[in-house]
């Protein structure tokens, strides 16, 4: 070091200063991140406690209705049997809602526990879509909303189209999107579910003509426990998990979701789902392969 010329010394100093500046900047960035996360955590904690009180309502209310309605059915006079039909319809819609909410909550718990894995099979997309839409039939009819399916996939055997993916997860994704679309639609309107394939990617979009979502809210709707209080048909129904679950499920399947919406004009949620590959490089899908080579290092 003693043999450095002044010039070299200066350069060395400048280099070190720059290095230092870089580190300082990184520190600043990090502490900014940190503050942001702390704030988020606080928010999230508050939302979580809110969530628990919400969720008990979500579960208790449908149960109360179901119990009350079934009790009423038991005491219906024989000649009044027509009343029963409408009460059974109510029971169905309450039970459906309960089932849907619980399914979501259990999946969220599974995702947070790290116990979620894709379960890939060849899925008949047309029949899956039909099943999901049918499950909303009673509810959509009650609201006078027509769910229109535009199935723009032609190939495959006859009218069937098979796609390698996880059928349960895809079902839940579509159900959540439809549920939201119905929730934020006006009475006597329409929800459009479009399906198409582009190369090896399955696309689904769900469009409603309801309240729409402001740009500011579009950024936060995927956050957990977040709910927008602008539902028309239901006052504060839901737990704010639907979209974060949807996103996490798509994550597991390598897919993505985006949203186009304008306040007052409705929303379009679009999902892209790549076809699952059977084999991850180096492993077979089954896992029953010979899985070491001689050149494995051992730790």
């Amino acid at each position: 070091m003693s043999n450095l010329s002044d010039k070299q010394l200066l350069r060395e100093l400048r280099l070190r200063l720059e290095e230092r500046k870089k580190l300082d900047n990184e520190m600043k960035e990090l502490s900014k991140d940190f503050q942001g996360v702390t704030k988020k955590l606080k928010e999230s904690e508050a939302l979580k406690s809110h969530f628990i009180s919400n969720i008990s309502n979500e579960i208790v209310n449908p149960f109360t209705s179901i119990l009350g309605l079934s009790k009423a059915i038991l005491s219906v006079e024989k000649n009044d049997w027509k009343k029963v039909v409408s009460m059974v319809a109510l029971i169905h819609s309450e039970a459906f809602n309960l089932d849907f909410q619980l399914r979501n909550i259990f999946v969220a718990a599974k995702i947070e526990a790290g116990e979620i894995a894709p379960n890939i099979t060849k899925v008949n997309i047309r029949s899956l879509v039909q099943t999901v839409v049918d499950s909303f039939n009673i509810i959509s009819r009650k609201m006078g909303i027509d769910i229109k399916i535009e199935f723009n996939i032609e190939h495959g055997f006859g009218k069937n189209f098979y796609f390698k993916t996880d059928s349960e997860k895809l079902k839940l994704v579509l159900s959540n999107l439809l549920n939201n679309a119905l929730k934020y639609s006006y009475k006597d309107s329409q929800v459009v579910l479009k399906m198409w394939v582009d190369e090896d990617v399955l696309h689904a979009s769900v469009q409603d003509f309801g309240t729409g979502i402001s740009e500011k809210n579009q950024k936060i709707i995927f956050e957990r426990f977040k709910r927008l209080d602008s539902g028309i048909n239901s006052i504060n129904r839901g737990h704010g998990l639907g979209l974060s679950i949807t996103k996490a499920l798509l994550d597991v399947l390598g897919g993505d979701i985006d949203i186009k919406s304008q306040k007052g004009e409705g929303s379009i949620f679009s999902v892209q789902l790549p076809e699952a590959r059977n084999i991850v490089e180096g492993f077979s899908g089954e896992g029953n392969d010979v899985f070491f080579d001689d050149d494995d290092e051992i730790f």
């Binding site: 996103k247 991850v280 899985f291 080579d293």
Partner: protein
């Protein structure tokens, strides 16, 4: 191949701890996998996370290192481990994406940093590791012996 082993393929964002002898396999790019092994009970588990820290927005899943590490340790303790008997091996954290984009966000390196920091905090010793570099890895973990077999992959994986 020893037949007494059950098998588990570990997907990103998930974790697995087994009481029975398992081979747990995974593929890593910039993700990090931590193998924890209890030398007394001869049990172990592994996580596989993609990003260092939870952002407070998504579900609090083990996609994020800070959550994945806590949950993995928690699960070991739940199965009866004493934290003093647990040791760790860490793998992954490569930088597979060329920083052609200009901003190399060093996900791999940050993933490893979280692992080292949190394990040190919990006083879990890291007895072996293979981290960084530009290639993906294939990891096979025997959760009864604690042995890990490791191979670099030539082709790019996620």
């Amino acid at each position: 191949m020893e037949n007494r082993y059950l098998q588990h393929f570990l997907y990103p964002s998930s974790l697995f701890v087994g009481k029975d002898p398992y081979v747990i396999k995974t593929i890593l790019g910039s993700c990090v996998a931590i193998c924890l092994w209890d030398k007394k009970l001869k049990i172990g588990g592994m996580n596989h996370y993609m990003l260092p820290n939870w952002n407070g927005n998504d579900l609090a899943s083990p996609k994020y290192g800070n959550i994945a590490i806590d949950k993995l340790v928690e699960k070991m303790l739940y199965l009866g481990s004493d934290i003093k008997d647990i040791q760790a091996k860490i793998f992954g954290g490569g930088e597979l994406l060329e920083s052609a984009t200009g901003n190399s966000n060093m996900i791999g390196e940050r993933n490893i940093r979280v692992a080292r920091l949190m394990l040190e905090e919990k006083k879990i010793p890291i007895v072996a590791s293979s981290t960084g570099g530009k290639r993906g890895r294939k990891i096979i973990f025997f959760n009864d012996t604690g042995e890990v077999r490791h191979k670099f992959l030539e082709k790019k994986v996620y």
